[in-house]
Symmetry: C2
Subunit: 492 residues, 2 copies
């Protein structure tokens, strides 16, 4: 029997790893298959193992039930076959709420039922940067309120992002070419470290598996279906046991001209069928942005797609998308705060914040990004590093309001009125955007008393009105744009 040492206790939704020594002959990424089956009472979960380099084979598993789990390996390689063991899954510690799921009522929540509202940001290639910048990025994330980050697994070749990464996911080098059937353990070890660092900060890693920003440089966007599938399965085997993983199958998938729709269908099926931990799964559009009426999106009604990850500048469409797809909606690209010459990268802070509020009030979410010109091209949206803008704080102000709201917020669809998230008779958060009413009339409950706050979403101030309101009432408003109105039932 293979010698192995593992933890005998893991907390719920943490990663249990089994690591065994094994052969390094041939191509261990392809030639050897090994799986581990975990049991708990009547449950049985099978995970794919992976070759981790240095003659080590690993299998990772995220237990989701407290109690005793046993496991048994199976492999065509004798050294990896028939290994058994057990561990205890203990209650999760504070701050560990498990992975994010979609609830039956089309909202996000952690596995322990704590509501999750994505306040995402974007730093596509932050994992591909030198150590100093990597550290700076984590520091910036620590100092801000973001709880999700969109990030590419494969390196990116794009405006303001032209340097060679230090590590590649595959064996090889730009000059000699890459062997896409062999992975580079150093890269993947680094990726583990990145995801663990995010986990510590309570940040979901929205991992973009494929993207079109290669343009003939490394060839990772045109590897062919066999290599694509191998890569996807390796990513799943390697990363799925981290509870903060989300799968974004591609960014701007429709800009990858070598891929067909059936390629995407196949990859999405693999991710959905073979991810033992059933992480959130999305795919993100590129085309159709500049032609009203010709929006080109993947069929988000497919059952494998857990939520909509949409690129569009008009976030008022969140209402429509929620209705159309019956799933949570994240506008993952609506433009970024910055001053680039490119139109997608030069929104004012006020406009970025406005889009985040507008989509939130409609029951969706908009992801932050920042693209200010920088002397060393250290632009957050690409490389991470520092943030210079104002929307990060304004978004933090919104998050604070949301964190303090009662559980169970739902979007209310009110024809010809401002969008609103609330709970009937308890809590209402209206967002007025460019609208600046001088007052609004409401039908509140007669038998309750309601506290009213004016919220200046740009200046980040909350003004509580001295009067409380009940029944049919006219509530004054400041008559200035970019305000929200919060109406809270006074607790007895």
């Amino acid at each position: 029997m293979n010698n192995h040492s593992v933890k005998n206790s893991v907390e719920c939704w943490d990663c249990f790893e089994l690591r065994l020594k094994g052969p390094n002959s041939g191509n261990p990424y392809v030639d050897i298959t090994w799986n581990v089956t975990f049991h708990h009472e009547s449950r049985e979960v099978k995970v794919m193992g992976f070759y981790a380099g240095r003659e080590e084979y690993a299998a990772r598993f995220m237990p989701d039930e407290i109690g005793e789990w046993t496991y048994e390996t199976s492999s065509d390689c004798i050294e990896l076959n028939g290994v058994t063991g057990s561990f205890t899954c203990t209650a999760s510690s504070s701050g560990n709420h498990g992975p994010v799921r979609v609830t039956h009522d089309e909202r996000f929540a952690y596995a322990d039922s704590t509501p999750y509202h994505p306040f995402g940001t974007t730093a596509y290639a932050w994992i591909h940067q030198p150590e100093e910048l990597y550290t700076a990025t984590l520091q910036t994330l620590k100092n801000n309120v973001f709880n999700k980050i969109r990030m590419c697994l494969l390196p990116k070749n794009y405006s303001f992002n032209a340097q060679e990464p230090e590590l590649y996911p595959f064996e090889g080098a730009p000059q000699e070419g890459f062997d896409t059937s062999r992975f580079n353990p150093a890269f993947w070890d680094h990726l583990d470290r990145c995801i663990e660092a995010l986990l510590k900060l309570g940040i979901e890693a929205d991992i973009i598996l494929f993207h079109p920003y290669d343009k003939g440089r490394w060839g990772f966007d045109v590897m062919g279906s066999k290599a694509d599938d191998l890569y996807l399965r390796y990513a799943i085997a390697r990363l799925s046991a981290y509870r903060n993983i989300w799968w974004a199958m591609a960014n701007e998938y429709d800009f990858m001209k070598e891929m067909t729709m059936s390629d995407w269908d196949r990859l999405i099926s693999i991710a959905s069928n073979e991810d033992p931990h059933q992480h959130l799964l999305s795919i993100h559009n590129g085309t159709g942005m500049y032609e009203p009426g010709s929006i080109f999106m993947y069929d988000h009604t497919r059952p494998e797609i857990t939520h909509c990850s949409i690129q569009h500048w008009d976030v008022t469409l969140v209402t429509e998308w929620r209705k159309q797809y019956g799933k949570p909606v994240i506008v993952d690209e609506c433009g970024y705060e910055g001053n680039l010459p490119q139109r997608w990268g030069n929104l004012s802070a006020g406009e970025m914040t406005h889009r985040v509020w507008e989509s939130f009030a409609r029951g969706g979410y908009t992801t932050h990004g920042e693209t200010y010109l920088h002397p060393q091209d250290e632009i957050w949206w690409a490389k991470g590093g520092a943030l210079f803008g104002c929307s990060k704080d304004q978004i933090g102000f919104l998050r604070d309001i949301v964190d303090k709201a009662p559980n169970g917020l739902r979007p209310f669809s009110i024809p010809r009125d401002a969008p609103m998230m609330g709970i009937e008779n308890e809590y209402y958060l209206y967002y007025y955007g460019q609208h600046q009413p001088g007052y609004r009339e409401f039908e509140l409950r007669e038998d309750k008393e309601f506290i009213v706050d004016w919220i200046d979403t740009h200046k980040m101030t909350i003004t509580t009105l001295e009067t409380t309101y009940q029944g049919t009432c006219r509530i004054p408003l400041p008559g200035r744009p970019y305000f929200a109105l919060r109406i809270r039932c006074k607790e007895e």
Copy 2:
């Protein structure tokens, strides 16, 4: 022969009126038909006469060619039949450019080819207000830059607009009911006076003939097709000779539930076929505003419709509508600057101005309106009176820029760039809106020198850069929102 005295000289595009005494028996609005045919060289134009009250029959004609015109009346009433005469049409005086037309290249221009850019405003029921308010409205128009006003012919019963008008277009009164086959001369005389006052101020009167804001009060929205046709023909006979008339067949036509689409088709055909002066003709939508993808508009491709008069809050769609309909586009309702509780009436000044600039830069136009709460409900958008907001001045600032631009501005469609109006190699006006690029790259002509201005569309300042530019160049921009960039070829 009927005694009549008429002017023997009228300037081009002014109103020539022939007025004859005639019988008042029966219903002179219905029982008597009379027409006048005007001749100039090989031209022949037939106009409908109308009963003007006080036993007077009038016929009005707007000559459009300099020289001698003759006329001859024909009628089933002997006193109105066979009257002949002549007058001289003289050159138009300065400030009289004739009626506005649509040019072959889908722009607006006056009949003398002077470009016309609509900077419209809205005061639906201003003609129905007491004398003092009427005078205040004209004073406000005189002090501002608007060159078009949207106004209802029929009185309006709506929020902030509930008083009885002093005069009704038809004989009768609210208590006793109205006879829609008889017109009220006092009302129509007042209307003449209103249109003449606008004419003096150089303002086009965009006359809304039908609207749904009656709601059972006077019944003018449910008169039946016979009365509708009679009313329309009377309006044409009476008003068409004013060069500043535009026909807006209806406001929010689709909110008039008693009318069918074939009613609208018929009315539009009458206006198009029977208006001897062929004024601009549009119809304005109401429905479909709150459901993306379900925009419900009249078929603006119909040849009778000269331009699109659209209600929509998203003025970026101007680009699409221009393409779709091949006609000038005016977004006649996109919301109004104000602080009403109603969503359509509480845009910030900055947002109103933004929509005017955005649509202009896309080759269309957005109409101003103002809806600030007022102690006596004297809200500009309804009754006229005074303006209190800031967008009027910001729109005036744009108009000044446009007036100083060379003739021949066209919208350029630049994928993924800011919208721009310009003339190749001569003049470019880019509008950046919520976008705030730090610089932009341009390919200007090598052999010309270009002057660059930063235009702050909100603060109404123009900053001319010290450097001039030519060839491939990088032009710095202020990196703040709501700026426009003007690039002008330096004159040698």
